[in-house]
Amino acid sequence: MNEPTDTIKSHAPLRPSGIKPETCMACGTCSAGCPITGMEGFDPRKIVRMVLENRDQELIDSKLPWLCTMCGKCEHACPMGINIINIIRDIRGQVDRDKVPGQIHKGVELCLETGNNIGLPGEDFTFIIGDVAEEMAEEEGFEDFVPPIDKKGASLLHTLHNKLVNTQNEDLVHWWKIFHAAKEDFTMTSENWEGVNWGLFSGDDEAMKIIVGRIVDHMDTLRIEHLMYPE
């Protein structure tokens, strides 16, 4: 009987400690500390155990990896330094894309297609930005504020969380105000302005790389020196 080779156990990246998942002693720390242990059969220790027994497909077919918030609290206390979160992400990445639950993969697809996770058309984006900026300029101290977009040679690139141009327009202004007060020479972009990268959650490295690549492109084309990490 030969061990299968291409298993989660063998390829999930290790934490910086470099410790193999086999080191797990099933002590229960992770399960005892995870707030959703027992919900819908979720139990981090069980997941690790199944990985050690090469029961990958069962995990891939289950919704367990999608219940995990990947918060890493389990790992934080794990006395053996097991890579539980990387295991979860590895499982997520092996799920057929059309079986990824909820909006995660759909957002990734939209982002790849349209430049943002919600598929907001360019003109709508420009309108919202302009509208919110106008309102802000009515406040004392910000009278001369004009939102910079695609400004070449700006000092700082400011990407946006899609929810700010969706349901939470009112939260767009906070950074603008700070930049304005700090006299920061910043810019946003009209295309590919999305700051969040759900490829991280869906375990989709390919998409993740493309989306990160867009930021690199912005910085190069607009000759921007500094980046403010979106999240």
Binding site: C71, I178, W198
Partner: protein
């Protein structure tokens, strides 16, 4: 977090030409260099600070540094009565909406997770919750509403923006 790890993984040369900053790096620079000044009398209510996993544990693991001290330093510059939730920092609780779970249909599990955050908040009983993460913002607001708790939630940069003293 995703962008930074993506840059480090696939575009390491990016860092030869460019510099990148987290929200904390920028705020700390603006405040300490005097580029912005903040009103110290505005936030006198009891404020609880929540550590997002991404800036804490995960940054610590991925980049060797967790952003625990920076937000607390920023708060200390203009907030007179901020408190920590217990446990906080590296052993803190996730809001319940991490890992993209806000985008999944498993709302019940998410709410179940959040009970821990709610317990933590109840122990401190703050008048305002401040945090630096869009997911945490959404999830904690939702959890508070589900538990009929009327406590506002704001972004760290939101209260900085509100406290700005414009010359």
């Amino acid at each position: 977090m995703a962008t930074r790890s993506g840059l480090e993984k696939w575009f390491p040369e990016f860092f030869e030409k460019h510099k990148a900053f987290t929200v904390f790096d920028l705020l700390v620079t603006y405040i300490s260099s005097g580029r912005i000044t903040l009103d110290k009398n505005l936030f006198t209510m009891k404020i609880a600070y929540h550590d997002p996993c991404n800036y804490g544990r995960k940054s610590e693991e991925k980049f060797g540094h967790g952003y625990y001290e920076e937000p607390r330093w920023i708060l200390s510059q203009f907030v007179s009565n901020w408190v920590d939730l217990y446990p906080a920092g590296a052993n803190g609780y996730c809001c319940g909406g991490g890992g993209g779970t806000m985008l999944t249909p498993y709302k019940e599990v998410r709410s179940h997770y959040s009970r821990k955050k709610i317990e933590q908040i109840k122990r401190v009983n703050p008048e305002l919750i401040v945090l630096p993460c869009h997911s945490c913002h959404g999830q904690i607001k939702q959890a508070l509403a589900e538990n009929n708790m009327d406590i506002p939630v704001k972004y760290l940069w939101e209260i900085v923006a509100e406290a700005l003293i414009m010359d």
